[in-house]
């Protein structure tokens, strides 16, 4: 192995860099927020979701992409679940009519994971659930 010049300075610099980069993690661990998850208000309107919760948590964006292409590209507006139950394919008309609290459900988690989906740039919050 070659000799590292200015070993002390280089290593100190590296350590400072790593500590700075990971500081948000340390900060949260020190102040007891290591297990923080956003407090989501899941309002279900009493109905069952189109898919299992575990699936939706991970893959709702994939389902929405499929739904989007179904309606726009092929004109199919009905989604049939494995058990035969039918749903209208509509973000505003189906998803948001059950999940009525967009601010404390969709937005809160999106902010936590640091994503800014542009769905709601065009798609409306339905009239019934506007505040």
């Amino acid at each position: 192995m070659k000799k590292i010049y200015d070993k002390g300075k280089t290593l100190t610099g590296l350590i400072i860099f790593v500590v700075l980069v990971s500081s948000p993690t340390w900060y949260n661990l020190v102040f007891g927020k290591g297990n923080y998850v956003p407090d989501l208000k899941v309002e279900k309107n009493g109905k069952e979701c189109v898919k299992r919760t575990s699936y939706m948590k991970k893959n709702h964006m994939e389902l929405l992409k499929v739904w989007r292409d179904e309606v726009v590209r092929t004109g199919n507006r009905t989604y049939v679940r494995e058990d035969g139950e039918k749903f209208e394919i509509s973000l505003s008309g189906t998803c948001l009519k059950c999940h009525t609290n967009k601010q404390e459900f969709c937005d809160r988690c999106h902010r936590y994971v640091g994503v800014t989906p542009y769905c709601f740039g065009c798609h409306n919050i339905p009239r019934e659930t506007r505040k």
Partner: protein, 244 residues
Amino acid sequence: MKRRDFLWIVGVSAIWGIFFPRVLASQEKNRDKRWVMLVDVSVCAKNRDCEACIKACHETHNVPNVGGSKEQIKWIWFSKFEKVFETEIPPIAQKKLGSWPVILMCNHCENPPCVKVCPTSATWKRKDGIVMMDYHRCIGCRYCMAACPYGARSFNWRDNKRYVGNVNYDFPLRNKGVVEKCNFCEERIAKGLQPKCVETCESRALKFGNLYDADSSVSKVLKERTSLVRKGYLGTNPNVFYLL
């Protein structure tokens, strides 16, 4: 390739092309729908200040009212007969017809130039004839606007949502940077309704229906009455017909 093989391929292709030229265009045969709009110009001429269809359409589809500038967004609008049908009618006839208002919208051409130029397939022709826009895919290059000979497409130069008066929450808005146009009320047809402009018009100047259905009212009217299409010489084959 041997010379002999080459001649074989050329010969077979030539025979195929002569006797089965329709094979390549066979998609047309699978169609059972061709949505068309009929605009009775003579009825509109009697109600010159009527803008009911324009207002209803733009309210239904959240079309922003940017004003009369170059940035204005329009799905349906009107112009004077002499401007729309400059070459279709001889100048002498323009004296009577020239000042008539003519309702204009996307022609949903059978041979749409906008579709040909779109690099992302964000606009395409559906099987029922509607030229659709997929705002998710539009990258805002505006090739389609340059290609459309009817000026039926508008570009959202900026976020125009604040110009939408009363938002219709049952229909989406559009983001900055996409091209928009009339969709023949695709979302209403899917529910079995007539387009909003047709439904709104009290004097029934507009008719909508399936031209491939011989018993439909539009087929019957088109059989009987004289009609014009905009810039027919371009070969776009529009689906909006103007009844005289």
